[in-house]
Symmetry: C2
Subunit: 266 residues, 2 copies
């Protein structure tokens, strides 16, 4: 039965595939990709943060004779593919539900530093990396969502290689090693450009060895949120992709689970 059902499911999805992008949608001549890691017991979290847990409320046949499943979840706002709301590091700044929707939607500018970060897990993405991008593509577009490709997404979910340590607890924090954004670049983005948000394929927009989290503090004071543990950024073109980054709408949240996707025109 399972086999038969799977065939009919395939047929159904094949049938759905055809009209997915109808002529009257804003999207045609391109494809959507998912930039989100799955939430599971494998999801990576800061060594001091509460990990994702999923508990079974019910799973199986009911007295009514039909199947039913339902789960409860718990998690830190800050783990897996997630949003950092500005209030995470800036007291008078937007919490999760206060971020204007249109700040979560925009044209991606993808900065590829994977070559430089390949042999330096403490790499800091610098102003010169942006300038190199701008020499090829022009200034960062107004309203851009800046996504950093450090080449780390493919290491997920191996904690030792992805974030420098698989240990947990406050002692493990000193052993974190992964690329992040240089605070000088954060200042440049706030003062010299007009961007909506930044995202990165590592656990934090500050690098693993940061102790003052200056990049967070600079960007968030300007109400520019961050997307962390973003997946598949290496699949995006340097320009032209359209990003939709929708966090769980937590009232007063300092962040939250994020589903981030991108449309890539042909």
């Amino acid at each position: 039965m399972r086999h038969l059902f799977e065939i009919s499911t395939s047929l159904l999805l094949a049938a759905l595939a055809a009209p997915v992008i109808a002529d009257n949608t804003p999207f045609s001549g391109g494809q959507w990709i998912d930039l989100s890691h799955e939430f599971s017991e494998d999801s990576l979290y800061w060594p001091t943060a509460q990990r994702f847990e999923k508990a079974t409320a019910f799973e199986g046949m009911t007295e009514g004779g039909y199947f039913y499943s339902s789960y409860d979840i718990s998690t830190s706002e800050h783990g897996g593919t997630h949003l950092d709301a500005p209030v995470h590091f800036a007291e008078v700044a937007n919490s999760t539900e206060q971020i204007p929707l249109e700040q979560l939607l925009g044209i991606a500018a993808v900065i590829d530093v994977s070559d430089k970060a390949a042999n330096n897990r403490d790499y800091l993405v610098s102003v010169s990396d942006i300038q190199a991008w701008e020499r090829k593509h022009g200034n960062l577009p107004n309203g851009a969502i800046v996504l950093i490709n450090t080449g780390s997404a493919k290491l997920w979910p191996d904690a030792a290689t992805y974030m420098g340590t698989a240990e947990r607890g406050s002692e493990a924090v000193a052993n974190l090693h992964f690329p992040g954004i240089d605070p000088e670049l954060a200042t440049f983005l706030v003062e010299e450009r007009n961007i909506k948000a930044v995202g990165i394929d590592t656990p934090s927009i500050d690098y693993g060895q940061s102790t003052d989290f200056l990049t967070h503090r600079i960007l968030f004071a300007a109400n520019i949120p961050g997307f962390e543990n973003v997946a598949a950024v290496d699949k995006l073109p340097a320009t032209g992709a359209f990003v939709v980054a929708l966090p769980m709408k937590i009232r007063g949240g300092s962040g939250g689970p994020l589903r981030i996707i991108s449309w890539i025109p042909d």
Copy 2:
């Protein structure tokens, strides 16, 4: 300081507002609206489901002299504005992370039954409601996301009026009263039309008095997911809006918190 900061934030957001929809995005000549209720202690849940909770991990000044806030959350997958994945009521069907991304994006067909439901909180949306829509707008588009406007979104988060009872626990279930989708219509949608998903502005796609949850079972066996407690559906036109419904990507999930938005062309 707060006042000054808020002014500068307003200026920043005003500056961002202009380029929000750049000429080279797929979206111009329209607006985005949010169809998601906030998650908070006020969020409505099934009387037997674990409600949303947000616990403070840290909030205040750090030893480093900067502000920091972080929270942990817990919730049933099924409460607030959320996804029902097909596996919620169909054993061999897609779980949350298995739903193809393009099934979560599509043209909305908005069925307004608010007049009929106004005086009947047990109203069942019927095949004839769809037929009335189709007489005006043509058959439901292939790949449509069918959204039901029962007029209930404005009652949120008052449990007594929105779902029929503010009581909690298994005894309260019999007191649930809110509109839902007639199982006959579910069968019609599966067999006679080719839709991606259904959504409704009530706690469930089956009405409050359902005991066999047939609408769930019929749609989910065909791998058609549901969106529940959808907000602001009364703001959508009957046709032409584009829906983006992104659930938290829970591996093996039966549903999950959902951020659902819509683009409305001018």
